[in-house]
């Protein structure tokens, strides 16, 4: 039971993160938001690796395409903050869920990034429609 609460709490904290990052947009440019969001997390993570895990910091030894994560990180934080200020955190989160559903279906369909192939099933369509209806209600409500 406590693990279910942990998951709920994780989601609540993610919701808080999106809203608070969006509020930073009232004071900073999009790149300013990205700088603080990633910079604070980087410092905390370095402290965790050094003090708790007592490991060496390693940033090398990964395939070249992995180094694109920084660009993607900026894209994700900047776009979510920009949209949150304009349409609210709930609508932003709901629409992002649609994007995640479609893209994960594409990844599964073609087995991208080494994921096991799983063909799209038409039985999933009503589920997509339910999510779409939910996002519409959240956006216009």
């Amino acid at each position: 039971m406590v693990y279910l609460f942990f998951l709920l709490l994780a989601g609540m904290l993610q919701g808080m993160m999106i809203s608070l990052n969006g509020q930073l947009g009232n004071h900073y440019s999009m790149f300013g938001i990205c700088f603080f969001v990633h910079g604070i997390a980087a410092i905390l993570l370095i402290l965790y690796i050094k003090l708790k895990e007592k490991k060496k910091i390693r940033l090398r030894g990964v395939p070249a395409y992995v180094y694109l994560v920084g660009f993607m990180g900026i894209g994700i934080v900047a776009s979510s903050s920009w949209c949150t200020l304009a349409i609210g955190a709930a609508a932003m989160t709901g629409l992002s869920v649609i994007g995640r559903m479609i893209s994960s279906a594409v990844v599964d369909q073609y087995g991208l990034f080494g994921v096991k192939k799983q063909a799209f099933s038409w039985k999933e369509v009503p589920a997509y429609l339910l999510v779409l209806a939910g996002v519409w209600l959240v956006s216009v409500g």
Partner: protein, 154 residues
């Protein structure tokens, strides 16, 4: 309209980012793997602040004017990651997806009310429809996966 399209594109980016982060984690371990994202994005955004002519916003006096609470978003994100790892390891992907989404949307609705004064019963119904849709899809996916495994083993 542009905000709606961007929000959907944000979801696309999230999926790809997660996949690439998993790869980084496989090579360097979860924490060092995650650190690549944060260090790289910090350096890039620092440079982009100056390239876009917004260097003045890094003045200490300006930073001090911003409520401290607004800087704590990334701390929330890191703590969430820890809870997510612990919770998912004991429950499974489907329960994890649904509960985190429920928490995320619930908090988003609450904070939209705090920051923007937005609240309605439609929004609450909308959240439950989204959760129901995700649960449905996960159920279908799980059934299809089981069927696939059965067929492969025959």
């Amino acid at each position: 309209m542009i905000f709606y399209i961007t929000a959907i594109a944000n979801g696309f980016l999230n999926t790809i980012n997660n996949m690439v982060n998993v790869k980084a984690g496989e090579c360097l371990g979860p924490t060092n793997g995650a650190l690549i994202n944060y260090v790289e994005a910090t350096i890039l955004s620092f440079l982009l602040i100056f390239v876009s002519g917004n260097g003045a916003e890094l003045n200490f006096s300006h930073m001090a004017e911003v409520p401290v609470l607004f800087y704590t978003g990334s701390i929330c994100g890191l703590v969430a990651m820890i809870f997510l790892i612990i919770g998912t390891s004991r429950t499974g992907a489907m329960v994890s997806t649904i509960l985190t989404l429920l928490g995320q949307l619930g908090m988003a609705v609450a904070l939209d009310y705090v920051f923007f004064g937005l609240f309605s019963i439609q929004r609450i119904i909308g959240i439950f429809l989204i959760i129901a849709g995700i649960a449905w899809r996960e159920q279908v996916k799980m059934r299809e996966r089981r069927k696939q495994i059965k067929e492969e083993s025959v």
